[in-house]
Symmetry: C2
Subunit: 412 residues, 2 copies
Amino acid sequence: MISLAELQRRIDAGNLSADAAIGQSLEAIAAHERTIGAFVCHDDKARAAKAGPLRGIAVGIKDIMDTADFPTEMGSPIYKGFRSRGDAAVVAALKQAGATIIGKTTTTAFASSDPTATLNPHNHGHTPGGSSSGSAAAVGAGMIPLALGTQTGGSVIRPASFCGVAAIKPSYRLLPTVGVKCYSWTLDTVGLFAAGVEDVARGLAAMTGRPELLPGSAVTTPRIGVVTQDFAGAPEAASAEALRIAVAAAERAGAPVRALALPEIVAEAWRAQPIVQEFEAHQALAWEYRENYDAMAPLLRGRLDESKGTPAAAHDEAIKIASRARHALGKVFEDVDVLLTFSAPGAAPKGLGSTGDARLNRLWTLMGVPCVNIPAYVAGGGLPVGVQVIARFGADAQALAAAIFMEGALKS
Amino acid sequence: MISLAELQRRIDAGNLSADAAIGQSLEAIAAHERTIGAFVCHDDKARAAKAGPLRGIAVGIKDIMDTADFPTEMGSPIYKGFRSRGDAAVVAALKQAGATIIGKTTTTAFASSDPTATLNPHNHGHTPGGSSSGSAAAVGAGMIPLALGTQTGGSVIRPASFCGVAAIKPSYRLLPTVGVKCYSWTLDTVGLFAAGVEDVARGLAAMTGRPELLPGSAVTTPRIGVVTQDFAGAPEAASAEALRIAVAAAERAGAPVRALALPEIVAEAWRAQPIVQEFEAHQALAWEYRENYDAMAPLLRGRLDESKGTPAAAHDEAIKIASRARHALGKVFEDVDVLLTFSAPGAAPKGLGSTGDARLNRLWTLMGVPCVNIPAYVAGGGLPVGVQVIARFGADAQALAAAIFMEGALKS
């Protein structure tokens, strides 16, 4: 994989020109894209910007985000050839920081669950996950050092786990969703994929103008609470093993680790998440569903068919449960700095029939808390499996610092 | 003005065809639009839908909302001729309810403060207010029975007051902003303009599928707290008179009315609102500001120039103040059902140089609470002046019911 931090260090030291850094991504795309299929389109004449902390960094943008320089097709024939007038706020922030938008990455239709043709870079017989399929696969295949995705259920952390890359789903609205196709306004969260946690942190700090997100020189030891989300069903053996390995590594590195049970209201919020998601999707995708029913992707259409007619009162109640659960979860963080849990139910499923299951992610999206994926284990078939580190709402710097601690612990 | 409720009653009774109701709006547009200039474009061959509670209702849509059937130009040459692929969620909701989208109404550039050429229907020498200038003026001139606008500072309630129409800025996110050009994601709120409060309530109930928003047969008497927002500066004589008249009418109608002082944290939130608004605008309009600086409307550009470089920490702090103020405001509603206050500093300013000042609205937008404008007084020059009724977050039905009480009290 291409490390963003390493590129920055070489560019800053004058050992690599920003254009040569972009050229490295273009060569990697030329070498791997035909096999992996991570891009909807890309600019093979892309050049570096002259200034900014992200000059020389080629970034892939999930194809539900508006880009003035590329079409935005939402993974759906309904948006074939659609050109937005401007850039999504996060795309503008990347350009402002000097990054080069190198292309648009594949997405399941409207960031739902209908798989794209993208292959898992670690095993071509498996899904890269979704909905941010192309972004996770492009970084995992070593084509680009940074990519943007979105998570409404588990669409950042799960594909990151499947593709063996670091990723952050930041606190709700740390990154604006302006110009990003909406599925659920309560849940949609823009996230970043990169080779390692430091790379992710540097990308996020540059995009937000928040230097406090950059890793400090001293690694602090977090107090860790391990949660297994029993309400969400049992993990497969590969994910259980990833968590076991991560816990052992953390303990070896000197972190206080303890198992935690989450309050019942949090489990209730897990059950309420799909109500929020699908009720809002019916409004966010009302034009598509009403006027382009036949062109809708089948899994998404089926989901909307099933959830049709959900009363507004059910959504109101789900939002109230979420609010109470956020409060209760805040109290859990009085005793630990971060939570550690599964990033996905197991390794990437075989075939391209499914992008996997968001059941171990969806709670955290509804809670709005920062989640960072760290690869922890390689299962049979060479398939990576991650764990996620979760901090309290707004403590993105703490989530990243603890993830760097975990990353170090897992390497030693 | 054209009453939505009256049209519905006549259509339901078989005394008016839905197409004839649309025809009535088309005739009124033909008669007044050349003078008022409330529309960017309209469909003079519009027909009624066959079914739905809003069949026969012609609706004007503020031109920052995506419409599949009309261009969406944001009040700016930067978006000249721009066609979205689909409809904004609120536009789709209107169509689903059987309404006819009759055209796009004028907006200040990106819903900020640069005036449009639209005239106040009650006095052509004055502004209709903004940013939802065309929507307020089109309803006030009797051209259409319903229009959508948005409020980030005071862009629904203020023009409603200036144009002598009823309007609601509902609770934050009761109506989705999906497909509505963003200025500030914490503040932007879609609202409705109509002839009277019942008309507004019927429109909102049909759009949201929430029958509880419809006025009941029995009018209940609300406990009213009067607030003068001294932290926001003094009102002009016309608005002071409007509030005096409204208070006297409420007391005459038997409502318990008392003056209330708002907690200091609420005044702090009033001071924090512009930080939230402009910090988020810099991200929401980053592409426009960065790549189309010369084409930006001058007042908006000046505002962005002035607020450039606001640190993220200032926004974080403002959001925290808002959260504490929302909590404190909730406690104020333990003793009263609604608040009553000024809708604007005075009657519509003379000329078209300014759309007026949002200083008496911006607090309520940040609080996310439902606000309903009711015309209360006619000042010199035939200029209407409104007052607003405000309920606790989520109590939109209560806000509408209290506004109907006030409307009745003011008529008797």
